[in-house]
Symmetry: C2
Subunit: 236 residues, 2 copies
Protein backbone atom coordinates (compact mmCIF):
# COMPACT_ATOMS: atom_id res chain seq x y z
CA UNK A 1 0.00 0.00 0.00
CA UNK A 2 1.46 3.43 -0.92
CA UNK A 3 2.19 5.91 1.86
CA UNK A 4 -0.79 8.08 2.72
CA UNK A 5 -2.08 10.95 4.82
CA UNK A 6 -4.16 9.38 7.61
CA UNK A 7 -6.79 11.50 9.41
CA UNK A 8 -7.10 10.54 13.09
CA UNK A 9 -10.10 11.61 15.18
CA UNK A 10 -9.55 12.28 18.89
CA UNK A 11 -12.08 11.66 21.71
CA UNK A 12 -14.17 14.73 22.56
CA UNK A 13 -13.45 15.13 26.22
CA UNK A 14 -13.90 11.51 27.20
CA UNK A 15 -10.96 9.85 28.88
CA UNK A 16 -11.60 6.33 27.57
CA UNK A 17 -10.98 6.24 23.80
CA UNK A 18 -12.82 2.91 23.45
CA UNK A 19 -16.09 4.83 23.83
CA UNK A 20 -15.64 6.85 20.65
CA UNK A 21 -12.68 5.46 18.67
CA UNK A 22 -12.70 2.12 16.77
CA UNK A 23 -9.82 -0.18 17.80
CA UNK A 24 -8.59 -0.29 14.18
CA UNK A 25 -7.47 3.36 14.44
CA UNK A 26 -4.81 2.35 16.97
CA UNK A 27 -3.23 -0.07 14.48
CA UNK A 28 -2.89 2.72 11.93
CA UNK A 29 -1.71 5.21 14.58
CA UNK A 30 1.29 2.96 15.12
CA UNK A 31 2.22 3.06 11.40
CA UNK A 32 3.02 6.80 11.74
CA UNK A 33 6.09 8.48 13.21
CA UNK A 34 5.17 11.96 11.94
CA UNK A 35 1.98 13.78 12.91
CA UNK A 36 0.52 17.12 11.86
CA UNK A 37 -1.08 18.61 14.99
CA UNK A 38 -2.55 21.87 16.25
CA UNK A 39 -0.57 21.91 19.49
CA UNK A 40 2.42 19.72 20.43
CA UNK A 41 1.56 19.36 24.09
CA UNK A 42 -2.03 18.18 23.72
CA UNK A 43 -1.01 16.02 20.73
CA UNK A 44 1.46 14.07 22.93
CA UNK A 45 -1.24 13.62 25.56
CA UNK A 46 -3.72 12.40 22.92
CA UNK A 47 -1.19 10.01 21.36
CA UNK A 48 -0.57 8.52 24.79
CA UNK A 49 -4.19 7.99 25.73
CA UNK A 50 -5.02 6.55 22.30
CA UNK A 51 -2.38 3.86 22.87
CA UNK A 52 0.49 5.03 20.65
CA UNK A 53 3.52 2.77 21.21
CA UNK A 54 5.52 2.83 17.94
CA UNK A 55 8.07 5.31 19.32
CA UNK A 56 8.80 6.99 22.67
CA UNK A 57 6.64 10.12 22.64
CA UNK A 58 9.60 12.51 22.74
CA UNK A 59 10.92 10.99 19.51
CA UNK A 60 7.70 11.40 17.49
CA UNK A 61 7.96 14.14 14.87
CA UNK A 62 5.20 16.69 15.49
CA UNK A 63 4.52 19.37 12.86
CA UNK A 64 2.36 22.21 14.15
CA UNK A 65 -0.52 23.44 12.00
CA UNK A 66 -2.24 26.51 13.41
CA UNK A 67 -2.63 30.23 12.75
CA UNK A 68 1.17 30.68 12.90
CA UNK A 69 1.91 28.12 10.18
CA UNK A 70 2.89 29.50 6.75
CA UNK A 71 1.50 27.96 3.54
CA UNK A 72 5.07 27.11 2.51
CA UNK A 73 5.55 24.99 5.63
CA UNK A 74 2.39 23.07 4.82
CA UNK A 75 3.77 21.97 1.46
CA UNK A 76 6.79 20.48 3.24
CA UNK A 77 4.59 18.62 5.76
CA UNK A 78 3.79 16.05 3.09
CA UNK A 79 7.44 15.31 2.24
CA UNK A 80 7.63 12.15 4.38
CA UNK A 81 4.93 10.68 2.10
CA UNK A 82 6.27 11.81 -1.27
CA UNK A 83 10.03 11.64 -0.60
CA UNK A 84 10.31 8.80 1.90
CA UNK A 85 7.19 6.69 1.37
CA UNK A 86 6.16 7.01 5.03
CA UNK A 87 2.62 7.59 6.33
CA UNK A 88 1.86 10.94 7.95
CA UNK A 89 -0.92 11.28 10.55
CA UNK A 90 -3.10 14.34 11.03
CA UNK A 91 -4.84 14.78 14.38
CA UNK A 92 -7.41 17.24 15.63
CA UNK A 93 -7.48 18.61 19.17
CA UNK A 94 -10.85 16.89 19.67
CA UNK A 95 -13.32 15.18 17.35
CA UNK A 96 -12.91 14.78 13.60
CA UNK A 97 -9.92 16.50 11.99
CA UNK A 98 -10.42 18.84 9.01
CA UNK A 99 -13.92 19.87 10.05
CA UNK A 100 -13.60 22.79 12.48
CA UNK A 101 -9.79 23.08 12.40
CA UNK A 102 -7.13 24.15 9.87
CA UNK A 103 -6.50 20.50 8.86
CA UNK A 104 -8.26 20.92 5.53
CA UNK A 105 -5.35 23.09 4.31
CA UNK A 106 -3.21 19.95 4.40
CA UNK A 107 -5.78 17.60 2.87
CA UNK A 108 -6.44 20.15 0.11
CA UNK A 109 -2.69 20.17 -0.65
CA UNK A 110 -2.63 16.35 -0.59
CA UNK A 111 -5.56 16.26 -3.04
CA UNK A 112 -3.79 18.72 -5.39
CA UNK A 113 -0.73 16.45 -5.42
CA UNK A 114 -2.70 13.21 -5.81
CA UNK A 115 -1.58 11.90 -2.40
CA UNK A 116 -3.93 9.28 -0.97
CA UNK A 117 -5.94 10.48 2.05
CA UNK A 118 -7.41 7.99 4.52
CA UNK A 119 -10.15 9.41 6.82
CA UNK A 120 -10.90 7.35 9.95
CA UNK A 121 -14.08 7.03 11.99
CA UNK A 122 -14.48 8.93 15.25
CA UNK A 123 -16.79 11.22 17.21
CA UNK A 124 -18.52 14.04 15.32
CA UNK A 125 -20.51 16.19 17.70
CA UNK A 126 -22.41 17.54 14.70
CA UNK A 127 -23.62 14.09 13.64
CA UNK A 128 -24.27 12.82 17.18
CA UNK A 129 -26.42 15.87 17.86
CA UNK A 130 -28.23 15.54 14.53
CA UNK A 131 -29.00 11.83 15.11
CA UNK A 132 -30.47 12.47 18.55
CA UNK A 133 -32.39 15.65 17.66
CA UNK A 134 -35.17 14.00 15.65
CA UNK A 135 -34.61 16.72 13.05
CA UNK A 136 -34.22 16.15 9.30
CA UNK A 137 -30.97 14.31 8.56
CA UNK A 138 -31.57 14.09 4.81
CA UNK A 139 -31.04 17.81 4.38
CA UNK A 140 -28.97 19.83 6.84
CA UNK A 141 -26.42 22.63 6.96
CA UNK A 142 -23.61 23.19 9.42
CA UNK A 143 -23.07 26.94 9.66
CA UNK A 144 -20.12 27.00 12.05
CA UNK A 145 -20.09 29.92 14.50
CA UNK A 146 -22.97 32.38 14.40
CA UNK A 147 -21.83 35.87 13.27
CA UNK A 148 -20.86 38.12 16.19
CA UNK A 149 -22.37 41.35 14.83
CA UNK A 150 -26.04 41.48 15.77
CA UNK A 151 -27.15 42.80 12.42
CA UNK A 152 -25.39 39.97 10.52
CA UNK A 153 -26.66 37.43 13.01
CA UNK A 154 -30.27 38.56 12.68
CA UNK A 155 -30.04 38.55 8.89
CA UNK A 156 -28.51 35.06 8.75
CA UNK A 157 -31.09 33.66 11.16
CA UNK A 158 -33.93 35.06 9.05
CA UNK A 159 -32.48 33.51 5.92
CA UNK A 160 -31.91 30.13 7.56
CA UNK A 161 -35.37 30.06 9.07
CA UNK A 162 -36.73 30.29 5.52
CA UNK A 163 -34.55 27.30 4.56
CA UNK A 164 -35.97 25.37 7.54
CA UNK A 165 -39.61 25.94 6.71
CA UNK A 166 -39.44 26.03 2.89
CA UNK A 167 -36.65 23.50 2.15
CA UNK A 168 -36.92 21.26 5.26
CA UNK A 169 -33.26 21.94 6.00
CA UNK A 170 -31.98 21.47 9.56
CA UNK A 171 -29.65 24.31 10.61
CA UNK A 172 -26.68 23.60 12.89
CA UNK A 173 -24.53 26.10 14.81
CA UNK A 174 -21.84 26.30 17.40
CA UNK A 175 -21.09 29.29 19.59
CA UNK A 176 -18.08 30.40 21.62
CA UNK A 177 -18.73 28.39 24.83
CA UNK A 178 -18.90 31.39 27.16
CA UNK A 179 -21.77 32.78 25.05
CA UNK A 180 -23.82 29.52 25.02
CA UNK A 181 -26.53 30.65 27.45
CA UNK A 182 -26.90 34.07 25.84
CA UNK A 183 -27.14 32.46 22.41
CA UNK A 184 -29.90 30.08 23.47
CA UNK A 185 -31.88 32.96 24.95
CA UNK A 186 -31.37 34.95 21.75
CA UNK A 187 -32.60 32.03 19.63
CA UNK A 188 -35.61 31.38 21.86
CA UNK A 189 -36.72 35.00 21.48
CA UNK A 190 -35.80 35.53 17.87
CA UNK A 191 -37.15 32.42 16.17
CA UNK A 192 -40.78 31.84 15.22
CA UNK A 193 -42.70 30.01 17.97
CA UNK A 194 -43.19 27.00 15.62
CA UNK A 195 -39.45 26.58 15.11
CA UNK A 196 -37.75 23.97 17.29
CA UNK A 197 -34.35 24.26 18.95
CA UNK A 198 -32.31 21.22 19.95
CA UNK A 199 -29.52 21.77 22.47
CA UNK A 200 -26.83 19.07 22.60
CA UNK A 201 -24.25 19.49 25.36
CA UNK A 202 -21.32 17.42 26.65
CA UNK A 203 -21.76 14.81 23.92
CA UNK A 204 -20.22 11.37 24.69
CA UNK A 205 -19.73 12.41 28.33
CA UNK A 206 -21.66 11.10 31.35
CA UNK A 207 -23.12 14.62 31.74
CA UNK A 208 -24.54 14.52 28.18
CA UNK A 209 -27.73 16.56 27.67
CA UNK A 210 -29.72 16.49 24.41
CA UNK A 211 -33.17 18.01 24.20
CA UNK A 212 -35.43 19.42 21.48
CA UNK A 213 -38.22 21.88 22.29
CA UNK A 214 -40.19 24.64 20.57
CA UNK A 215 -38.31 27.96 20.58
CA UNK A 216 -40.36 29.72 23.27
CA UNK A 217 -40.34 26.70 25.58
CA UNK A 218 -36.62 27.25 26.15
CA UNK A 219 -37.47 30.46 28.04
CA UNK A 220 -38.87 28.27 30.85
CA UNK A 221 -36.27 26.29 32.83
CA UNK A 222 -33.36 26.95 30.47
CA UNK A 223 -30.46 24.55 31.16
CA UNK A 224 -27.21 25.95 32.58
CA UNK A 225 -24.88 25.48 29.63
CA UNK A 226 -22.11 27.64 31.05
CA UNK A 227 -18.97 26.84 29.10
CA UNK A 228 -19.85 23.25 28.24
CA UNK A 229 -19.32 22.35 24.56
CA UNK A 230 -22.73 22.70 22.90
CA UNK A 231 -24.29 22.21 19.47
CA UNK A 232 -27.45 24.13 18.55
CA UNK A 233 -29.82 22.70 15.95
CA UNK A 234 -32.87 24.40 14.47
CA UNK A 235 -35.80 22.77 12.68
CA UNK A 236 -39.56 22.77 12.66
CA UNK B 1 -29.50 5.26 34.69
CA UNK B 2 -33.07 5.59 33.29
CA UNK B 3 -34.01 3.52 30.23
CA UNK B 4 -33.19 5.21 26.95
CA UNK B 5 -33.39 5.04 23.17
CA UNK B 6 -29.91 4.05 21.97
CA UNK B 7 -28.89 4.84 18.38
CA UNK B 8 -26.54 2.16 16.96
CA UNK B 9 -24.49 2.79 13.81
CA UNK B 10 -23.78 -0.19 11.54
CA UNK B 11 -20.60 -0.71 9.43
CA UNK B 12 -20.95 0.59 5.86
CA UNK B 13 -20.16 -2.52 3.89
CA UNK B 14 -17.12 -3.61 5.83
CA UNK B 15 -17.23 -7.06 7.35
CA UNK B 16 -15.05 -6.29 10.36
CA UNK B 17 -16.92 -3.94 12.73
CA UNK B 18 -13.70 -3.08 14.62
CA UNK B 19 -12.72 -0.88 11.67
CA UNK B 20 -15.62 1.54 12.08
CA UNK B 21 -17.41 0.81 15.39
CA UNK B 22 -15.99 1.60 18.88
CA UNK B 23 -15.90 -1.43 21.16
CA UNK B 24 -18.08 0.41 23.72
CA UNK B 25 -21.07 0.12 21.34
CA UNK B 26 -21.08 -3.66 21.81
CA UNK B 27 -21.52 -3.29 25.58
CA UNK B 28 -24.60 -1.16 25.05
CA UNK B 29 -25.90 -3.42 22.27
CA UNK B 30 -26.12 -6.17 24.86
CA UNK B 31 -28.29 -4.03 27.17
CA UNK B 32 -31.11 -4.12 24.58
CA UNK B 33 -33.58 -6.92 23.78
CA UNK B 34 -35.79 -4.76 21.54
CA UNK B 35 -34.54 -3.06 18.39
CA UNK B 36 -36.21 -0.73 15.90
CA UNK B 37 -34.89 -1.71 12.46
CA UNK B 38 -35.59 -1.11 8.79
CA UNK B 39 -35.56 -4.78 7.80
CA UNK B 40 -35.64 -7.81 10.12
CA UNK B 41 -33.38 -10.01 8.06
CA UNK B 42 -30.46 -7.59 7.66
CA UNK B 43 -30.93 -6.46 11.26
CA UNK B 44 -30.32 -10.03 12.53
CA UNK B 45 -27.22 -10.27 10.33
CA UNK B 46 -25.93 -6.94 11.64
CA UNK B 47 -26.61 -7.88 15.27
CA UNK B 48 -24.66 -11.07 14.75
CA UNK B 49 -21.62 -9.48 13.17
CA UNK B 50 -21.54 -6.69 15.75
CA UNK B 51 -21.21 -9.32 18.49
CA UNK B 52 -24.71 -9.33 20.02
CA UNK B 53 -24.93 -12.13 22.59
CA UNK B 54 -27.59 -11.03 25.14
CA UNK B 55 -30.29 -13.29 23.62
CA UNK B 56 -30.50 -15.92 20.87
CA UNK B 57 -31.16 -13.91 17.69
CA UNK B 58 -34.59 -15.47 17.10
CA UNK B 59 -35.74 -14.24 20.52
CA UNK B 60 -34.77 -10.59 20.00
CA UNK B 61 -37.79 -8.32 19.50
CA UNK B 62 -37.44 -6.52 16.17
CA UNK B 63 -39.83 -3.66 15.34
CA UNK B 64 -39.77 -2.70 11.69
CA UNK B 65 -39.63 0.98 10.75
CA UNK B 66 -39.96 1.62 7.03
CA UNK B 67 -42.43 3.03 4.50
CA UNK B 68 -45.08 0.51 5.66
CA UNK B 69 -44.97 1.60 9.31
CA UNK B 70 -47.88 3.72 10.55
CA UNK B 71 -47.29 6.71 12.85
CA UNK B 72 -49.44 4.96 15.49
CA UNK B 73 -47.09 1.97 15.57
CA UNK B 74 -44.16 4.30 16.12
CA UNK B 75 -45.68 5.67 19.31
CA UNK B 76 -45.92 2.09 20.67
CA UNK B 77 -42.29 1.36 19.77
CA UNK B 78 -41.17 3.38 22.77
CA UNK B 79 -43.36 1.50 25.28
CA UNK B 80 -40.55 -0.78 26.53
CA UNK B 81 -38.79 2.40 27.72
CA UNK B 82 -41.75 4.21 29.26
CA UNK B 83 -43.77 1.22 30.56
CA UNK B 84 -41.08 -1.32 31.42
CA UNK B 85 -37.93 0.73 31.99
CA UNK B 86 -35.99 -1.21 29.35
CA UNK B 87 -33.58 0.25 26.76
CA UNK B 88 -34.62 0.18 23.11
CA UNK B 89 -32.01 0.13 20.32
CA UNK B 90 -32.43 1.76 16.92
CA UNK B 91 -30.25 0.48 14.07
CA UNK B 92 -29.71 1.69 10.54
CA UNK B 93 -29.12 -0.62 7.58
CA UNK B 94 -25.66 0.92 7.19
CA UNK B 95 -23.89 3.92 8.70
CA UNK B 96 -25.42 6.35 11.18
CA UNK B 97 -29.10 5.90 12.03
CA UNK B 98 -31.53 8.83 11.72
CA UNK B 99 -29.54 10.55 8.96
CA UNK B 100 -30.67 9.06 5.64
CA UNK B 101 -33.32 6.69 7.01
CA UNK B 102 -36.75 7.00 8.70
CA UNK B 103 -35.18 6.66 12.19
CA UNK B 104 -35.68 10.35 12.94
CA UNK B 105 -39.45 9.73 13.20
CA UNK B 106 -38.72 7.71 16.34
CA UNK B 107 -36.17 10.10 17.84
CA UNK B 108 -38.55 13.00 17.21
CA UNK B 109 -41.26 11.11 19.12
CA UNK B 110 -38.78 10.36 21.92
CA UNK B 111 -37.85 14.04 22.11
CA UNK B 112 -41.53 15.04 22.31
CA UNK B 113 -42.02 12.68 25.23
CA UNK B 114 -38.81 13.65 27.03
CA UNK B 115 -37.27 10.19 26.60
CA UNK B 116 -33.49 10.20 26.79
CA UNK B 117 -31.76 9.52 23.45
CA UNK B 118 -28.17 8.22 23.35
CA UNK B 119 -26.43 8.57 19.96
CA UNK B 120 -23.34 6.38 19.46
CA UNK B 121 -20.26 6.90 17.29
CA UNK B 122 -19.92 5.11 13.97
CA UNK B 123 -19.15 5.60 10.28
CA UNK B 124 -20.65 8.62 8.54
CA UNK B 125 -19.82 8.56 4.84
CA UNK B 126 -20.71 12.26 4.70
CA UNK B 127 -18.11 13.19 7.32
CA UNK B 128 -15.43 10.79 6.07
CA UNK B 129 -15.79 12.25 2.58
CA UNK B 130 -15.76 15.82 3.89
CA UNK B 131 -12.62 15.23 5.99
CA UNK B 132 -10.68 13.78 3.06
CA UNK B 133 -11.90 16.26 0.42
CA UNK B 134 -9.87 19.25 1.60
CA UNK B 135 -13.07 21.30 1.23
CA UNK B 136 -14.47 23.70 3.83
CA UNK B 137 -15.63 21.78 6.92
CA UNK B 138 -16.64 24.88 8.86
CA UNK B 139 -19.61 25.53 6.59
CA UNK B 140 -21.23 22.72 4.61
CA UNK B 141 -24.64 21.47 3.52
CA UNK B 142 -25.79 17.93 2.92
CA UNK B 143 -28.49 18.07 0.26
CA UNK B 144 -29.44 14.39 0.11
CA UNK B 145 -30.39 13.12 -3.34
CA UNK B 146 -30.19 15.51 -6.26
CA UNK B 147 -33.65 16.22 -7.76
CA UNK B 148 -34.56 13.85 -10.61
CA UNK B 149 -36.26 16.42 -12.86
CA UNK B 150 -33.62 18.14 -14.95
CA UNK B 151 -35.14 21.59 -14.55
CA UNK B 152 -35.19 21.31 -10.74
CA UNK B 153 -31.70 19.85 -10.73
CA UNK B 154 -30.27 22.66 -12.87
CA UNK B 155 -31.96 25.29 -10.71
CA UNK B 156 -30.71 23.77 -7.44
CA UNK B 157 -27.17 23.42 -8.76
CA UNK B 158 -27.12 27.10 -9.81
CA UNK B 159 -28.32 28.15 -6.38
CA UNK B 160 -25.79 25.98 -4.56
CA UNK B 161 -22.93 27.13 -6.74
CA UNK B 162 -23.65 30.65 -5.54
CA UNK B 163 -23.48 29.40 -1.94
CA UNK B 164 -20.09 27.80 -2.70
CA UNK B 165 -18.49 30.89 -4.16
CA UNK B 166 -20.22 33.58 -2.08
CA UNK B 167 -20.64 31.86 1.30
CA UNK B 168 -17.73 29.34 1.16
CA UNK B 169 -20.21 26.53 1.75
CA UNK B 170 -19.27 22.99 0.69
CA UNK B 171 -22.20 21.21 -1.00
CA UNK B 172 -22.68 17.46 -0.51
CA UNK B 173 -24.90 15.09 -2.52
CA UNK B 174 -25.71 11.47 -2.97
CA UNK B 175 -27.27 9.90 -6.06
CA UNK B 176 -29.08 6.64 -6.75
CA UNK B 177 -26.04 4.34 -7.25
CA UNK B 178 -26.94 3.29 -10.80
CA UNK B 179 -26.88 6.96 -11.85
CA UNK B 180 -23.45 7.73 -10.29
CA UNK B 181 -21.46 7.92 -13.53
CA UNK B 182 -24.13 9.97 -15.31
CA UNK B 183 -24.32 12.36 -12.36
CA UNK B 184 -20.57 12.95 -12.33
CA UNK B 185 -20.58 13.68 -16.05
CA UNK B 186 -23.50 16.05 -15.56
CA UNK B 187 -21.68 17.89 -12.76
CA UNK B 188 -18.43 18.09 -14.73
CA UNK B 189 -20.25 19.76 -17.64
CA UNK B 190 -22.65 21.88 -15.69
CA UNK B 191 -20.44 23.48 -13.04
CA UNK B 192 -18.16 26.44 -13.57
CA UNK B 193 -14.60 25.36 -14.52
CA UNK B 194 -13.28 26.86 -11.24
CA UNK B 195 -15.60 24.70 -9.11
CA UNK B 196 -14.09 21.53 -7.68
CA UNK B 197 -15.76 18.14 -7.40
CA UNK B 198 -14.65 15.53 -4.88
CA UNK B 199 -15.78 11.95 -5.52
CA UNK B 200 -15.67 9.60 -2.50
CA UNK B 201 -16.49 5.96 -3.25
CA UNK B 202 -16.47 2.72 -1.24
CA UNK B 203 -15.59 4.55 1.98
CA UNK B 204 -14.00 2.37 4.72
CA UNK B 205 -13.52 -0.45 2.18
CA UNK B 206 -10.20 -1.64 0.71
CA UNK B 207 -11.41 -0.33 -2.68
CA UNK B 208 -11.91 3.20 -1.27
CA UNK B 209 -11.39 6.03 -3.79
CA UNK B 210 -11.40 9.71 -2.77
CA UNK B 211 -10.28 12.37 -5.19
CA UNK B 212 -10.88 16.11 -5.66
CA UNK B 213 -10.39 17.78 -9.04
CA UNK B 214 -11.64 20.83 -10.97
CA UNK B 215 -15.00 20.18 -12.64
CA UNK B 216 -13.74 19.88 -16.23
CA UNK B 217 -10.83 17.60 -15.24
CA UNK B 218 -13.35 14.86 -14.44
CA UNK B 219 -14.13 14.61 -18.15
CA UNK B 220 -10.66 13.07 -18.66
CA UNK B 221 -10.23 9.55 -17.21
CA UNK B 222 -13.47 9.50 -15.21
CA UNK B 223 -13.48 6.68 -12.64
CA UNK B 224 -15.88 3.76 -13.14
CA UNK B 225 -18.26 4.32 -10.23
CA UNK B 226 -20.87 1.84 -11.46
CA UNK B 227 -23.14 1.09 -8.53
CA UNK B 228 -20.56 1.64 -5.79
CA UNK B 229 -21.82 3.86 -2.93
CA UNK B 230 -20.55 7.36 -3.66
CA UNK B 231 -20.62 10.80 -2.08
CA UNK B 232 -20.23 13.88 -4.28
CA UNK B 233 -18.85 17.11 -2.79
CA UNK B 234 -18.61 20.49 -4.48
CA UNK B 235 -16.43 23.42 -3.51
CA UNK B 236 -14.03 25.90 -5.05
Amino acid sequence: MPAQLILFPVPIGNDDPDVTIPSYNRELLNTCTTFIVEDERTARRNLKRMGYTALPLDQVELLELNEHTSPLDIVGYLDPITLHGRNVGLMSEAGLPCVADPGSLVTAEAQRRGIQVLPLVGPSSIMLALMASGFNGQNFAFNGYAPIKMRDRDALLKRLEVAIHRDNQTQIFIEAPYRNDQFLEYLAHQLQPITRICVATDLTLPTQYIRARLARQWLNDPPQLNKRPTIFLLYK
